[in-house]
């Protein structure tokens, strides 16, 4: 919403400065986004008189002007074709900032002759498109008259961002009302006395069933005959231009002017182009309307139209039709002032993708009481500016009732607003805003004014009182907790998630936050069924909910490789979507490493990442999540997006807790990733729940005083035997003395029989009650060899 200060002053008697007005509006909840003051931009510019204009001696197209200015007589070189002796123009002295370019005007010599200042064109001053010549003022304004005065530039233009509830402030009268309530001036009352009419215009019928009567509760048509529809007067054009509207013709400009002036949208039909009577009804299937914006709209039976016998001539509350619109030839005009259902207006506009100033106002709701007043005011303006003779208004329907009265217990102000006001303040604030009051001082019946249908409850009254009192005057009160010492606020799962995030970052992964959506092609390899599609995606790359965090991480890795980050590690902790219903999402943690373990490096530790990196990370993450990793089972193989021979799954009993592995070459290719990439994935929701423990004590440390003994065993086994099988066999060979078993060497190839490999394990033996001797160790060693042989066909190497 835009308005100018002089326009505001038509409604409000005030001496307040633009800055004071802006600050007040913002503190009232009408946020002023900007104040543009053209008059201050033009403050250095003033009227000048060209006393003499002669040919420039060195240039055909330039003239040498002797100019009377308020700074004295100046010599100005001017290239405008209309520069002539006797012209009154606008002079810019040296040092002025030219509004259109923002450049400072310096002293210059043009073709060898000095020019002191400049005579300006309308475009240079930013007040029009005319650049064919310099401004040629009508009449003979005195030299030195400020440019904004001579040009009739409107004062400061305010741009207010209105919240959807403040429909009433889409009119300058509403803004004035707020300022008056805040004590910035006195409202000027408008004269809305009826304009007498002669005869009647066309009949008007509201063709709705009782159930749909609210589609258009009121429609006033008023015929005005014998008008001349020329350009509107300069003052009106200036105001409309100042708020960004293009002047069109007097009749159209009047409707726009009244719409902004009184928040009362109007329409004018060329009465000669209407056939027969006017009916307001729902559109019929198949009907179309060529609207004033030049577009043809297909209508449906949910849309309200103003129709004549030929068909729809306007879309109620949204836009008029081109065919019945007024032109320069219009002599008889039918003025429409109506009320349309806000919701239906909004739906119509949305469906047709049609935005207009009228729709903006109708869909937020208008002041029903302003319909008749607005009609009289518009009639008066038309008669004044276009001449003609008005008929009696034809009124169909009735003014609907205004907002309902509200019971307001005064204690609500302290209860919700945290302030207490005197009776006089309460009544004063509400009355000045137009509210009616009954009862008091503890319980009032408050009648909101007809333009405040946003005020529906006692909480709304609290807001009105708080904002007039000033939000800044509400004393702040700290919010404190009940206990002196906090017991911690996170749930065990939230705490675990935070711990996991930081653990994985410590492992060398950098946290990414990627979109919750991805492309359907990117999602495909990670989907079992159909993707969860968006109905209105912003692009095909962001069209489905991600079934896994991997696709976006793989895309990110590829982008990083494009930026010469050949190696890297990223992780994300967030939702992946298993279905399209609320709650069909799982919190996942995914880590992705690509390229090598580190940068190229003289120590030679760099190597390509492999699945054992991912496995170690998966184990570390599970450990951080509180899973006892010794109890985990590893099985070969994982989801289809991994290399089938280089992926694994970590589980506890029947529960799959994590997968890891090298990404499938086809996936790498699809995501344009060079080199190798490995990943691990955890679904946090599948992890064993964190159990609340009653105490925090730990079991005593098992520190045995007797020294451990280490023995190494190398076994020859079939290729198919897994390390895990051998380790388990060895571990279980003697539960009493075997403390630790680890695998320290794998060898296959040269020197090994075909289809065999060597696995070497280190076994640490220890007894809780004695120092082990050869005699103790020997039987255990035999058991180990026997178990490996019996269970796995392993053969002890010599």
């Amino acid at each position: 919403m835009k308005f100018t200060l002089p326009w505001l002053k038509e409604h409000l008697e005030t001496d307040a400065s633009a800055a004071h007005i802006a600050l007040t509006l913002t503190s009232l909840g009408l946020e002023v986004e900007a104040v543009h003051d053209r008059t201050s931009e033009l403050s250095g510019f003033s009227v000048a008189f060209v006393r003499e204009a002669v040919q420039h001696p060195n240039a055909d197209r330039l003239r040498l002007c002797t100019v009377e200015t308020k700074h004295g007589v100046m010599q100005v070189v001017c290239g405008a074709p209309n520069a002539r002796a006797g012209l009154h123009g606008i002079f810019a002295p040296e040092g002025s900032v030219i509004p259109a370019t923002g450049k400072v005007l310096g002293r210059s010599a043009i073709r060898g002759i000095e020019s002191h200042g400049m005579l300006c064109s309308a475009r240079e001053l930013g007040i029009g498109d005319d650049h064919d010549g310099i401004i040629d003022l009508d009449g003979a304004p005195a030299v030195g008259t400020p440019a904004s005065e001579a040009l009739g530039i409107e004062g400061p233009v305010f741009e207010v961002s209105l919240t959807p509830d403040r429909a009433d402030c889409f009119g300058i009268n509403g803004i004035a009302r707020e300022l008056a309530a805040a004590g910035l001036g006195q409202l000027r009352r408008r004269d809305f006395t009826p304009v007498p009419g002669q005869g009647r215009g066309p009949a008007i019928r509201l063709d709705f069933s009782a159930a749909d009567a609210h589609a258009c509760p009121l429609f006033i048509g008023r015929l005005i005959r014998g008008v001349r529809n020329g350009p509107s007067p300069a003052w009106m054009q200036r105001r409309l231009q100042a708020i960004g509207l293009r002047p069109i013709s007097a009749l159209v400009d009047i409707t726009n002017y009244v719409m902004f002036d009184l928040n009362r949208p109007l329409h004018v039909f060329d009465a000669a182009r209407l056939e027969g009577d006017v009916t307001v009804r729902f559109a019929r299937a198949g009907e179309t309307l060529l609207a004033l914006d030049g577009r043809e709209y297909a209508l449906d039976d949910g849309m309200t139209v103003i129709a004549d016998e030929a068909g729809p001539q306007g879309l109620g509350g949204v836009m008029g039709g081109e065919v019945s619109g007024v032109t320069g030839a219009t002599t008889d005009v039918l003025l429409e002032v109506a009320l349309f259902d806000p919701i239906r207006t909004a739906l119509t506009g949305r469906k047709l993708d049609l935005v207009s100033d009228a729709r903006t106002r109708f869909e937020r709701g208008l002041d029903p009481e302003m319909a008749v007043a607005g009609m009289e005011h518009a009639t008066r303006l038309i008669l004044e500016l276009c001449g003609g003779e008005a008929a009696e208004p034809v009124i169909a329907g009735a003014v609907p009732p205004g907002p309902a009265a509200i019971a307001f217990p005064v204690r609500e102000l302290a209860r919700l607003g945290g302030i207490q006001l005197e009776r006089g303040e309460i009544e004063g604030h509400l009355r000045v805003l137009g509210f009616g009051l009954d009862g008091g001082p503890e319980l009032y019946t408050v009648q909101p004014p007809s333009w405040r249908h946003d005020v529906t409850s006692s909480a709304c009254i609290v807001e009105e009182l708080c904002r007039l009192h000033g939000y800044d005057k509400i004393p702040p009160v700290p919010v404190t907790r009940n206990e002196a010492v906090s017991a911690g606020v996170l749930t065990p799962e939230q705490r675990r998630r935070g711990h996991l995030r930081r653990t994985v970052a410590v492992l060398g992964y950098t946290e990414a936050v990627t979109w919750s959506f991805t492309g359907e092609n990117e999602a495909r390899p990670f989907l079992e069924g159909e993707p969860v599609r968006l109905a209105n995606p912003i692009s095909s790359e962001l069209s489905v909910m991600r079934p896994s965090l991997l696709p976006n991480l793989l895309l990110a890795a590829a982008r990083n490789q494009d930026r010469k980050r050949e190696d890297g590690a990223l992780f994300e902790l967030g939702a992946r979507f298993t279905g399209g219903q609320p709650g069909e999402q799982v919190t996942a943690l995914v880590g992705l490493r690509w390229g090598a373990t580190g940068p190229r490096d003289w120590t030679g530790t760099r190597r390509p990442v492999d699945l054992f990196d991912a496995k170690a990370d998966a184990l570390a993450a599970l450990a951080a999540a509180g899973v006892k990793t010794e109890a985990l089972q590893v099985t070969a193989g994982g989801p289809a997006w991994y290399h089938p021979g280089r992926s694994g799954t970590l589980g506890l009993g029947p529960n799959r807790l994590a997968t890891f592995g090298e990404l499938h070459p086809r996936v790498l290719e699809a995501f344009d990733l060079d080199g190798r990439a490995v990943a691990f994935e955890l679904d946090l929701d599948a992890l064993p729940r964190v159990r609340a423990r009653p105490g925090r004590t730990r079991p005593p440390l098992e520190a045995w005083p007797y020294p451990p003994v280490d023995r190494d065993f190398a076994f020859l086994v079939d290729d198919g035997v897994s390390a895990d099988q051998l380790l388990r066999a060895v571990r279980q060979a003697d539960k009493k003395l075997i403390r630790e078993v680890s695998l320290f060497d794998v060898y296959a190839g040269k020197g090994m029989p075909e289809g065999k490999k060597s696995l070497a394990v280190a076994v640490r033996l220890q007894s809780p009650d004695k120092t082990l001797t050869e005699a103790d160790i020997e039987p255990v060693a035999r058991k180990i060899v026997a178990a490996a042989e019996k269970q796995l066909g392993a053969e002890l190497r010599g």
């Binding site: 403040r166 995030r501 969860v532 890297g568």
Partner: protein, 359 residues
């Protein structure tokens, strides 16, 4: 005999002094003092001396042995020292060679700032609530007092899913206010929660991304009013920006789910390049808030005459940008390692109110 001892002592000392290395020194020790050593040989001659000379000779031998041993030890120490010196010299490495690469990961600013918020609000007794990203119309709009077809719904640029629930299209939550609805429906009052999470609006340009992060706050009890709202949020911004001189202003505003509603601005200084919070005379909008609307309380089954309180919502990404100076929003979601390393946080920098939120 004594003269002989004197002579050999001189010779032997000279030999010890000129032994070039530890191995030779060991050999010399054996050659001198070993069982078949030269000193041992000489000692054997003592028995052939007249008895009267023997004590003196024996004593002289003992002294010889002692001084030889002392000399051997001294030489050994000197040689060992020299050997170590030589080894160290030989082991010299170019220490300007780069260290082994060791680079930890970083925590994303969104996670870090969420932890900062959590720490601050936990100090004021807030718990952390969560909710689903996919929502229905009820939780996102209806329960929050958005009338059907109200223009405020259009301001939200909602993403809809093809999936439906009871015939109604499902959507991606446009704000985290959905979580306050779910939390109130699932739990008994009083409530004091924050609810951080991802939010979605189909809007994409230089300053908007289709996904962003919000944190919702909700306090409902029997006494909380606008004064508490102001106190809580002023305390929050001062704690979050780690400056106790931050100025704040509250302006009336509109949200369907609060009444009275407000927007909070904080004082700042704007230049072309940056916004400095806590200085200057400009104002910067930072969050929306208000007293929870009676219709919202009714929608979740609470009596608005008994229960009351405030709610607020703010953009996590935005306050991260304000505090840490990221100029653009889009890189937050680009996963560029260079950006993440520059603006990210080392994992052990866990924000707490006892150690300070940030370094």
């Amino acid at each position: 005999m004594l003269a002989t001892i004197d002579r050999v002592e001189g010779e032997m000392m000279a030999e010890i002094g000129s032994t070039p290395d530890l191995a030779r020194l060991d050999e010399l020790r054996v050659a001198l003092l070993g069982k078949k050593g030269r000193v041992t040989d000489l000692v054997k001659g003592v028995s052939s001396l007249p008895p009267a000379e023997r004590p003196a000779a024996g004593q002289a031998f003992n002294e010889l042995k002692r001084s030889l041993e002392a000399a051997l030890l001294e030489r050994r120490t000197a040689l060992a020292e020299a050997a170590l010196e030589a080894r160290l010299l030989a082991e010299r490495i170019d220490v300007t060679l780069p260290a082994r690469p060791r680079d930890g990961g970083r925590i994303h600013p969104v996670s870090q700032v969420t932890d900062e918020l959590t720490a601050i609000f936990a100090d004021m007794g807030f718990m952390v609530a969560e909710g689903p990203d996919i929502e229905n119309d009820f939780h996102n709009f209806t329960a929050l007092n958005f009338p059907p077809s109200h223009p405020a719904r259009e301001m939200h640029d909602t993403f809809f899913l093809e999936a439906r629930q009871d015939g109604e299209p499902l959507l991606l939550r446009t704000h985290t206010s959905t979580i306050q609805v779910r939390h109130m429906m699932a739990n008994k009052p009083p409530y004091r929660i924050i609810a951080p999470g991802r939010t979605y609006r189909c809007d994409s340009d230089a300053t908007h991304t289709p996904m962003f992060h919000q944190v919702e706050g909700l306090v409902i009890d029997r006494r909380t009013h606008m004064g508490h709202l102001k106190g809580c949020l002023i305390d929050f911004v001062r704690a979050y920006f780690e400056r106790d001189d931050i100025t704040a202003r509250f302006r009336p505003s509109f949200f369907p789910f609060t009444e009275p509603s407000a927007e909070m601005d904080i004082g700042c200084r704007r230049t072309k390049e940056e916004i400095v919070v806590g200085e200057g005379t400009d104002w910067l909008e930072i969050l929306g808030c208000g007293m929870v609307h009676p219709n919202v309380l009714r929608a979740v089954g609470l009596d608005p005459a008994e229960w009351q309180g405030f709610a607020f919502g703010m953009g996590i990404d935005r306050i991260a940008m304000l505090k840490y100076g990221m100029p653009d929003l889009r890189p937050f979601f680009d996963a560029d390692l260079a950006w993440l390393h520059h603006y990210g946080f080392v994992p052990l920098d866990l924000p707490t109110t006892f150690s300070g939120l940030s370094r």
